[in-house]
Symmetry: C2
Subunit: 223 residues, 2 copies
Amino acid sequence: MLELLTLTIVTCHEMNWIMTNSAETKKRDTYHHGDLKAQLIEATRLLVEEKGPDNFSVSEACRRAGVSTAAPYKHFKDKTEMLREVAAAGMVRQSQQMLAEIAPHADGTRARIVALGRVYIRFATTEPGVFRLMFTWSGETEDDESLHALGDSKLAVVQMEVAKCHGRNEITDVDRQKAFMLWSFVHGLSFLSIDGKLADDNMPTDLETLLDDVAARFVPEAS
Amino acid sequence: MLELLTLTIVTCHEMNWIMTNSAETKKRDTYHHGDLKAQLIEATRLLVEEKGPDNFSVSEACRRAGVSTAAPYKHFKDKTEMLREVAAAGMVRQSQQMLAEIAPHADGTRARIVALGRVYIRFATTEPGVFRLMFTWSGETEDDESLHALGDSKLAVVQMEVAKCHGRNEITDVDRQKAFMLWSFVHGLSFLSIDGKLADDNMPTDLETLLDDVAARFVPEAS
DNA sequence: TGTACATCAGTGAACGCGCGTTCACTGATGTAC
DNA sequence: TGTACATCAGTGAACGCGCGTTCACTGATGTAC
């Protein structure tokens, strides 16, 4: 499983590189760009992955998009706003993946909890740059209300799944506490993973078994 | 408990500010500094706390130490080496705190596991900058062997404590797995905490109860 | 269908800035005699 | 104790660099008549 994850990351890097280069070398034939805002966001996303959220530069994104360094300011207030859009898109993407991953499993089963954890960690290892951006990057005293709301809604999903595992349709404090503990666990596992702290002698099992083990300690098997 | 932690942080910031200012305004009366290397490391540490590991600059550290920007290069190879020393010192400090915190508790008790978790999170919330530096900051393909070793030795402590809770004196794969899960949990909790994701509606209990709850799910009470 | 015009996306040059690092230097200190 | 000298920690000026942002501009496009 660990090898599989690593493989995915490498493949992803290669893909970024290819997309990047094609973006760099593409010459526009029209004066107007047509889709510059989306293209700048995509360039920003790729740069955040390649260099990390703190080494992203507007100038480089412009080079990638084949555009002058003044162009972004027709679409974004400043550098911060570009990063915020990438972070917000990441939150949405992660939410969608979470919902998609639990869908195949029956309501109120522990498998749904495991699925949520699995996809959380998969997102982190597949897009470590954006993952870091989403959490570590506070973005000026946390002013962005919508980012906060997106995060809360994801936690609410976990809380509801925990409640349903206990045969409840209302979220209680016990569910909130358990959801938070599960969140902490996968969040930590995500960071340890992308920071390269997952050696074989640290973690002797594969990821799926580990998730199952943990979930079993917090929620019962069937409703 | 949460209020207590916040209070600690604020106090710590104030302290940093005071120490910083005194360092800024202090004029040397001798040509030679005497203790520049240590003072630069301390200035670096404070800056990492104040601005974050990625916004640290050599120039600013020099200003703080009251020294020309060329001075550090008599003591450090480059910027990276300055940060590495701060990270290494942080690892050592955290290790010491962990050992000190478990000392009062009897061998093979769950209280020792809880103590390890408590001090891990306390370190993260007290020194978030250094904590981030230690983990997030990869430092050029992880070349530093000693940093890695320091991290491993800390994990080994947890593994041994888990083993002793089960009445073993040898670490088995089960202990390794449990230690890793506990690590993931407190690591995640640390990051969520310093990234401001601990709202009251997320986590309805205090930290100590939470740690106790989790520990109880992984290790038995008495040896 | 053709023309006049407003709009506004993207240009390119420039700005001031702080950065990491280098260099030849200086002058305080410790040591040998 | 006094002098000559080597050492080397810290200086200050300079370097080239890439950055974020601004500005007056240009020219493609869509619309009104």
